[in-house]
Amino acid sequence: MNPSAEKRLAVALIVVVVVTLIYIVIDRSVDDHGVLGASTVASVAAITLALAKLRIIMREFMDVRHAPKILRTMTDALVIAMGIALLGTYLVGRAIA
Amino acid sequence: MKSESGRLRGAKRELWLAWYVTVVFYGMYSVVFFGLSRTQPPGRPWLDPDQTVAWFADRHWGLLIGFGVIFVLGGFSAVALALITHSIRRMSVSPVFAYSYLILYAIAAIPGFMYICVAMTAGVMRPNRAPIAAQWLYDLGFLSFVGTMGVFLIGSLIWMIAVLIDDNRVFPKWFGYLNLVNALTEVVIAPSWIFQRGVLAYNGAIGFWVNVPVFGLYTGVFIYLLRDFIQREDFGTGPLPAPADVWRRARPAVEAVGA
């Protein structure tokens, strides 16, 4: 394990942990003194951040970065498909309700 | 590519016949459950006793004829098992896996169709039965059919381990992992014993609409892979040997495979 790879993994870990901590900010911003309130912005942000973490984990930790193009395309397509499915269901559901 | 009748005359006729019976059997099963008896997608688990009586009355002939067909032909589920058992015997794994698979799925026939056939036939035979008894039969039919997971769970895991550690590459490794996907959906169906409504109930969005397509995909994939397995099975493609010397030639091979 060369130093640059080691450093890169450490940076990736710091990034995903920081992104996780952003959730605390989102969580605080929508609550009204401990009473939970519905918020499309918070929900969309939560899902988007989760998907961003997904991509970082796959690219860095799972080493997709060095993988053949087919796997890189496939994993990106998976993240995008999940994003469309999750956000689509949420937004359509809210529109219907 | 050989014609189908050619396949059934050739050296691999036992395997090909088993494969065709498997395809026809699953086709028949789908037709009976989805078409004739309309028990898939399953009925609503929250029906009250009187609604259950109406449910039975609504599909009187479909249930009786559909399940009559299963009562006569259900035993042919064993053909797919036999073919899969044989394929596991061709792997570099202990025969324990093959025989475990055979027995697990032979037992699966009882919750897999016997209980639902008996319960639904009893329910539909007497339209004037006490509604509360009709509901009991309805529950017995659906819950035993949907909720008996153990044999399929353990069966899939046995098959998974066999595929993953096999050196002969009888099945591709990814099929081993697909067995795990299937096994996990067997876990997911367990809450159908607990919920009378909602997504996890036996007719729910997860309980039925996710699980059954996964099972359908799994079944389709293994039927396709069995075909591939038969094509690669190597004991010559010529005509069957003359009856006189078949004994001498076939014995050792059968012994090696079947011992």
Binding site: E6, L9, L49, D63, A85, L86, G93, A97 | G198, I206
Partner: protein
């Protein structure tokens, strides 16, 4: 096998240049199929909650967000340790790799203990599998994830065994095992966002 190892040896020198498949491609098929199955569970959950927003928010307030954050960081760290384990394996520093693998097992165990404690706490407060629609989804998603985690311990066991014996060290198998473990992390990242944060 030897060719793969040679290329990884060179990959060390030129980090970003050589293309190779991380682990068994067959395992990636599992990752994709299982992700799709999970996505369908997530969509069903999201749709249900938009239809009964009030009830879901009310039940959701029983969760402790900070616990979820800790869970997430623990699993993310375990993903990092297993990634380090693979890097060290490819650099043939098996002893270090083994320590990273054992650290992963430890972090997984911490996550599991936290999860069980959270369940116990919720159940004591009357929030059970059958108490509300939100809790039904919560217990379903967290326990199906926990089952993946438990399978993950078996997978890590295979990995540690591979690292322990000098004649066993199949890099391919080790990478495949780590791919499975990352998948457990991936699912949790989404489950956490959906159960604890989405409003």
């Amino acid at each position: 096998m030897s060719m793969i190892e040679e290329t990884t040896g060179r990959a060390e020198a030129a980090d970003d240049e050589v293309e190779r498949f991380p682990g068994d491609p067959d395992m990636w098929l599992f990752v994709v199929v299982e992700s799709l199955v999970f996505t369908s569970y997530f969509c069903i959950y999201l749709y249900s909650r938009t239809q009964h927003e009030r009830a879901f928010l009310e039940a959701q307030s029983a969760l402790t967000m900070s616990l979820g954050i800790v869970d997430t960081i623990v699993l993310l760290t375990s993903s990092w340790t297993i990634a380090c384990c693979v890097q060290h394996t490819n650099a043939r520093r098996y002893e270090t790799a083994r320590w990273f693998a054992l650290a992963t097992v430890g972090l997984g165990a911490v996550f599991f203990v936290l999860k069980v404690a959270e369940w116990a706490h919720l159940i004591r407060d009357g929030h059970t599998f059958t108490s509300s629609d939100f809790m039904q989804h919560f217990f379903f998603l967290t326990s199906i994830h926990a089952i993946h985690l438990i399978i993950g311990f078996v997978v890590l066991g295979v990995l540690v065994r591979q690292l322990s014996g000098p004649h066993l060290r199949a890099h391919r198998t080790i990478e495949t095992c780590s791919t499975y473990w990352h998948t457990v992390d991936l699912f949790w990242v989404v489950i956490f966002a959906l159960l604890y944060i989405v409003r």
